[in-house]
């Protein structure tokens, strides 16, 4: 969850229900994947947690916000493609868990309507 809070800072302010919904969405998405992918995901999370020890002398969880962002940015731009793709997969899961919740739609101003005809106004 610490990594997720760096990917999407609003997760910090989710209540317990929101966190539970997020975890359920991510769990369901992972369960739809094969065992190898699930194992790779778990391994990648461990790599993200421990990799900062080499540079900052601390695990990811114990870094300040700027350093957490620096670590994630390094993974995002990493020349080693497997690490770059791993980070992409991680952030996609976090986004799914947060933005996939109907409860967060109002936070971003998304308000779909089965009958949207009145909303097709012109700016």
């Amino acid at each position: 969850m610490v990594v997720a809070e760096s990917v999407t800072p609003e997760i910090v302010s989710l209540d317990s229900g929101g966190r539970a919904r997020m975890a359920a969405i991510i769990d369901a998405a992972l369960m739809d994947r094969d065992a190898i992918t699930r194992t790779q995901f778990g391994t990648f999370l461990t790599v993200i947690r421990l990799a900062p020890v080499l540079r900052f002398g601390r695990a990811f969880d114990r870094l300040d916000g700027d350093r957490k962002n620096a670590v994630l940015r390094w993974f995002q731009d990493c020349p080693v493609s497997i690490l770059r793709k791993g980070f992409w997969g991680l952030k996609v899961l976090v986004f799914m868990g947060y933005y996939g919740q109907e409860e967060t739609w109002s936070e971003i101003g998304y308000a779909p309507d089965f009958d949207g005809r009145a909303g097709v106004r012109h700016a």
């Binding site: 369901a28 996939g100 967060t104 971003i108 779909p112 949207g116 097709v120 700016a123």
Partner: protein, 500 residues
């Protein structure tokens, strides 16, 4: 294992399977037994909730995120009564004559495909929306293109009673989209064709196929009880979509005598780009896809289309994370969106394989020409956003997260080609083509121009797998036109093919 006997079995119920089913319905009405075996469920009308994660899980394979082997691209294709026609936007274009020439398949003529396409354009109520039905997201795209002198055209779409929900890609909650689930399949069923949902075909042979019926936990129950079943049929038409049709034939052993099976896969690799306006625009109300720009189709091998996606899909297509990503997501009501489609070459090395369990593996690499097209498309899109009035633009390969309006003249410089890095930017595909390509003979193709598998008189393919190269446009009308040919060939040869 139970055994059932049919005259014709159609595997899949999307654009291809649905069209074949309806065109063979007269045979069913005349007493022939015809079944459509569909892997996915049929949802009740009130089960289309518009909730992104829920609908994606129920209507798409892997929730619309099937990964390629190298994990640089995701693919979205449907699994439902009606296949991908349940989840497309209904944009209905006829394949250009130049593309048919490039296909170079003996027996495939533009005039023939054009005539058959026109039939489905009529049958599925294809038309252009009225100007009053177009939202700002679409109008701004047109305005931007006009200001820049780019050629833009309105999409004909296949809706009836559209209520502007903008939820097309999650299955229309109003039943307005005229996919095969609304038109061809009900007509086929009325004539006596059986459609069996929740039925996955695991192996296909010359005159039989094996299937498993299993309740996915949602949707209406299948008309067949759960369990394994062998279906004997004199004619089998494989319409499972480019990935699953190729995989089914491969795991059934056809790769041994058809060396191109699974190969020459094309995907129209796609990007979703956003521009932020200084004020609210109408974007998530109204049909999402009304215009396209083909200015760069020949010169730079990409098309631009209007689009509007849902929160999760939008979030994953933005580069980056953290505060700036959140800030852009919080501007959702001010976002204009453009979808890019790169026209990818048909390469022998891009292909569908099967793993040791028989599951499909998509071995596809975006080559330099595709990455060039994606890069140039970002530059063109940024120019359109600014011309339409956006005050900043997010380009996945941008040197910074936002390109501000004051830098609008520098987009070429601020979107460097070197930043188009597979595995960093989100690239997706919803146009999956090839793998069972038409051609002359078994050494260069999988089927002939009628979709008949070389060397197997009763086995046909009737979906986008038939494309020998990309369609270079939204493909579903072309799929239906080719499926129409398949059905015609079966009808014309029914005496021989369906003889006892």
């Amino acid at each position: 294992m139970r055994e059932l006997d049919y005259d014709v079995v159609i595997i899949g119920s999307g654009a291809g399977g649905g069209a074949v089913a309806k065109e063979l319905a007269p045979l069913a009405a005349a007493g022939k037994r015809i079944a459509v075996l569909e892997w996915g469920p049929k949802l009740a009308d009130d089960a289309f909730t518009g909730r992104e994660v829920e609908m994606a899980r129920q209507l798409y394979f892997d929730s619309g995120g099937v990964l390629t082997k190298d994990r640089t691209l995701t693919m979205a294709y449907g699994r439902a009564y009606g296949g991908s026609t349940v989840v497309y936007t209904g944009t209905s274009l006829t394949i250009p004559e130049d593309v048919v020439k490039r296909w170079d398949v003996p027996g495939i003529e533009y005039n023939d495909l054009q005539r058959r396409s026109a039939k489905y354009i009529e049958e599925n109520n294809v038309h252009k929306l009225e100007e009053s039905e177009l939202n700002d997201n679409n109008r701004l795209f047109l305005e931007g293109c006009i200001k820049l002198g780019y050629r833009a055209q309105q999409f004909p779409i296949n809706v009836k009673g559209c209520r502007s929900s903008s939820l097309c890609n999650l299955g229309c909650p109003n039943g307005a989209k005229q996919g095969t689930h609304r038109v061809q399949l009900p007509a086929a069923e009325a004539a006596g064709v059986e459609v069996i949902t929740n039925c996955r075909v695991t192996r296909v042979g010359e005159r039989s196929c094996d299937a498993v019926v299993a309740d996915p936990g949602f949707g209406l129950p299948s008309s067949w009880e759960s369990g394994e079943v062998r279906v004997n049929a004199k004619v089998i038409v494989v319409c499972g979509g480019a990935i699953n049709s190729a995989a089914l034939l491969l795991r059934s052993g056809y790769g041994d005598r058809l060396p191109t099976l699974g190969r020459y896969l094309t995907l129209h690799p796609a990007l979703i780009l956003v521009g932020e306006h200084p004020h609210e625009i109408s974007n998530f109300h109204g049909h999402p896809k009304s215009f396209y720009c083909d200015e760069f189709w020949e010169s730079e091998k990409f098309l631009l289309e209007t689009c509007m996606y849902f929160p999760f899909i939008t979030s994953k297509n933005l580069i980056g994370f953290g505060a700036e990503h959140s800030k852009l997501m919080r501007a959702f009501g001010r976002l204009q969106m453009i979808l890019v489609l790169a026209v990818d070459p048909a390469l022998e090395s891009n292909r569908v394989l099967v793993d040791r369990d028989g599951e499909p593996v998509i071995d596809y690499t975006m080559g330099p020409s595709v990455l060039d097209s994606l890069h140039r498309s970002m530059v063109a899109s940024a120019k359109i956003f600014f011309a339409a009035g956006a005050h900043r633009v997010h380009a996945p390969a941008g040197a910074s997260f936002f390109i501000e309006r004051k830098d609008a003249d520098r987009v070429e410089e601020l979107i460097p080609r070197s930043n188009v890095i597979p595995g960093k930017i989100s690239v997706a595909s919803a146009h999956i083509m090839g793998g069972c390509g038409m051609g002359r003979e078994a050494s260069d193709s999988v089927t002939d121009s009628w979709g008949r598998v070389h060397g197997s008189p009763g086995l046909y393919v009737g979906d986008s797998g038939l494309f020998p190269r990309a369609s270079e446009i939204n493909p579903y009308v072309t799929v239906m036109a080719l499926a129409d040919r398949v059905a015609e060939h079966i009808r014309d040869n029914a005496g021989e093919l369906l003889a006892p």
